[in-house]
């Protein structure tokens, strides 16, 4: 207890030096915590934004192959799939059933490419909540040929709500088709993915694509949270597999780029009729996870590099401290302090320094994260995909934070260990007669 008190007082003795060393430790902890926090939220935010754009976390895509080998995306047996979803016990927030096509919009000599999703607005109640209109609104979608486009597309075409634009796309069988859309609303730019998307009524899209009124191409299940995406994906895969032909997920699982390999399976296989492909958001974002993992690894390397530098400073400082207090060490040894107690005194000082620096660093990190999180980014910001509601968010894992603090404490103790051991090994007579 006395050693702890003495260690704390010794730290308070050279306030400026303690503050500087503590600040160096705090800086290291702060940087790493912010990076960890960013990496933690990075995957979640991208997944969340992607889930919003793709309208789901778990998906079923129907792929039909004709006798001639022509491949097209279509789901005809909705009841079969809905039964599979029910059997898989998936707690869906809502289910989207969309038809979509890559289309060209043409207006007054201007042309813009975008992906148009056919949406059943009466069922997809979540999408209207997410769309932020600058002009027009959902009212216009009451017209069967209404379309909602983003601001960059509207600017390129120079259109306003109420304008009628030509649309050019390929039908399911690959024929060129032309139709007309009426601009119902213009939304704010929702980033790189959002700006390339438009939303039309599914019944009209199905007409343009030559699909039946109840057909669609992609079934998306929107889960209450990202948690369980893989498990529910697997459960749904098993249920669909039990009642219909599916693309084999296991065949592609060893491929480094799973989703590319999985999506291309149809090209090499021969079948007729409809085969289903069950996949998840995590399959699509596996590379995003790799980026996050790389960020985490990078943060650990940064922590280690920073601390190797800080350790040199700590070792040198403790060598100076040893020299400064050499007579004091001699005195304490003379009056009965054992070697181990002298070593522990220095190690306690280092430990308190590390702990104080770490706490200070964590406080700083949370201040920095709160400050960055308070900045409102424009919706057309290139970083939109990693934002949540226009704000950068951070998710700090408590276990990772604790690990960082433990690493820092261990490295600080290691840096102070050799000077502490030297202090303990000092011959008291030598220490007492040393003249500074």
């Amino acid at each position: 207890m006395e050693i702890i008190k003495l260690a704390l007082r010794n730290l308070a003795r050279q306030k400026k030096r303690t503050f500087l060393l503590g600040s160096a430790i705090a800086f290291g902890i702060m940087i790493v915590t912010v990076i960890n926090g960013f990496a933690g939220a990075f995957v979640d935010n991208i997944s969340e934004n992607f889930a919003n754009l793709a309208a789901g976390h778990v998906f079923i895509q129907g792929v039909e192959k004709s006798a001639s080998g022509k491949e097209s995306d279509i789901i005809r047996d909705d009841a079969l799939l809905m039964q599979a979803v029910k059997d898989a016990n998936i707690p869906s927030k809502y289910i989207s059933k969309r038809s979509s096509a890559q289309a060209s919009l043409i207006f007054a000599g201007h042309n813009a490419q975008l992906k148009v999703d056919g949406v059943d607005f009466s069922k997809e109640t979540f999408l209207p909540e997410r769309l932020m209109f600058i002009k027009g609104g959902l009212e216009g979608m009451k017209q069967r040929d209404g379309i909602i486009i983003s601001e960059p597309i509207a600017k390129r075409l120079n259109v306003q709500p109420g304008d009628r634009v030509l649309v050019q796309l390929r039908t399911l069988t690959g024929q060129q088709n032309v139709g007309e859309f009426s601009i119902a609303g213009i939304t704010v730019d929702a980033g790189i993915f959002g700006s390339m998307s438009g939303y039309a009524n599914k019944t009209y899209m199905n007409e343009l694509l030559a699909l039946g009124p109840e057909d669609y191409q992609l079934l998306g299940i929107y889960l209450p949270s990202l948690k369980g995406t893989d498990a529910y994906g697997k459960a749904l895969y098993e249920k669909v597999k039990a009642v219909a032909p599916v693309f084999d997920r296991d065949a592609a699982k060893n491929d480094q780029n799973f989703i590319r390999s999985f999506m291309n399976q149809g090209k090499t296989e021969t079948w007729t009729g409809i085969k289903y492909r069950v996949f998840t958001l995590n399959d699509m974002l596996a590379q995003v996870k790799q980026i996050a993992d790389a960020l985490d690894t990078a943060s650990l390397i940064i922590l280690l590099v920073l601390f190797v530098i800080i350790m040199v400073g700590i070792t040198n400082t403790f060598r100076i401290i040893l020299y400064e207090r050499i007579r004091e060490i001699g005195t304490m040894r003379s009056i009965g302090m054992q070697r181990g107690e002298v070593r522990n005194l220095f190690l306690f000082e280092a430990g308190f320094l590390a702990l104080g620096g770490a706490v200070f660093g964590l406080v700083l990190a949370f201040i920095v994260m709160a400050a960055i999180g308070g900045i409102s980014f424009s919706m057309n910001s290139p970083v939109f995909i990693i934002l949540k509601n226009g704000h950068m968010t951070f998710k700090v894992d408590a276990a990772r934070m604790l690990l960082n603090v433990l690493i820092v404490a261990a490295l600080t103790e290691f840096a102070a260990f050799f000077p502490s051991r030297n202090a303990a090994r000092l011959d008291p007579a030598v220490a007492l007669r040393t003249v500074k």
Partner: protein, 256 residues
């Protein structure tokens, strides 16, 4: 009763490539409860002998026994325990711990070691010592807020707090003015009488040597005089170790 015994003690220090013999074979004994002065000019080996008695330094040759325990083969931990339990130290430069106040400095040795004195008993004893050294009003002050004399009083109280059998004081008055120095010695003498603690102090000041019961004079690492209460103190060791030791002792050599 002999409490300190040195037999043919030599101490050689390496100084660069040469070796310096600071103590050249010294033998003497000190009786319990004595007020002992080790006197001599600078470089005569006073501090080296005190360090060896204090178990902070080991002799190159010869043996040192403290309270009947030969220190030669004791390991560092045992020597530290011996220092803690049997010896008290007063230094020329006071050597107080700067981050602790008067009371904490005095209490510090009691918080070391394996045995703990109960808090109430500890506090009463520290209060008594503070009172005894006349620092009641200064107990919460740090050492940098005290005069030299006050600091040395703290050092005396600290040396006494573990109730040691022997207190070693290396030139305790050297950094003090003559008046304060006298006060400090008077205090040491008073405690010596009251507590029957053996005091061994080194000094090069001829005036204060006279206060001692037992005077050991050194020159160039050899004893030139060993007198206790006016008589030759060499016989003290003769009783213990036999004539052969005394015959070979540097006292004899120096006299002959």
């Amino acid at each position: 009763m002999t409490i300190v015994e040195l037999q043919d003690v030599r101490k050689v220090y390496p100084l660069g490539k040469v070796e310096v013999e600071a103590v050249k074979g010294v033998s003497f004994c000190i009786e319990k409860g004595d007020f002992v002065s080790i006197a001599g000019p600078s470089g005569s080996g006073k501090t080296t002998i005190l360090n060896m008695i204090g178990c902070v330094d080991r002799p190159t040759k010869g043996t040192v026994s403290i309270a009947g325990t030969p220190t030669k083969d004791l390991k560092d931990a045992a020597l530290t325990t011996l220092r803690h339990e049997t010896l008290g130290f007063i230094f020329q430069s006071f050597n107080l711990i700067p981050v602790l106040n008067v009371r904490e400095n005095i209490e510090f040795p009691l918080l070391l070691g394996r045995e703990r004195v109960p808090k109430k008993e500890r506090e009463q004893w520290i209060d008594y010592l503070i009172e005894e050294v006349g620092l009641s009003q200064w107990s919460k002050h740090k050492s940098n807020e005290l005069s030299g004399g006050q600091r040395q009083r703290v050092a005396i109280a600290r040396a006494l707090v573990t109730k040691p059998e022997i207190v070693l004081a290396d030139e305790p008055t050297a950094n003090l003015d003559s008046h304060t120095g006298e006060q400090i010695l008077e205090l040491m003498k008073k405690i010596n009488r009251e507590m029957q603690t053996t005091f061994i102090f080194s000094t090069h000041d001829a005036k204060i040597v006279g206060l001692a019961d037992h005077i050991i004079r050194l020159r160039d690492g050899l004893i030139i005089e060993n007198v206790r209460n006016g008589t030759d103190a060499a016989a003290l060791c003769a009783d213990l170790a036999g004539e052969s030791v005394i015959e070979n002792s540097p006292v004899q050599s120096a006299r002959s």
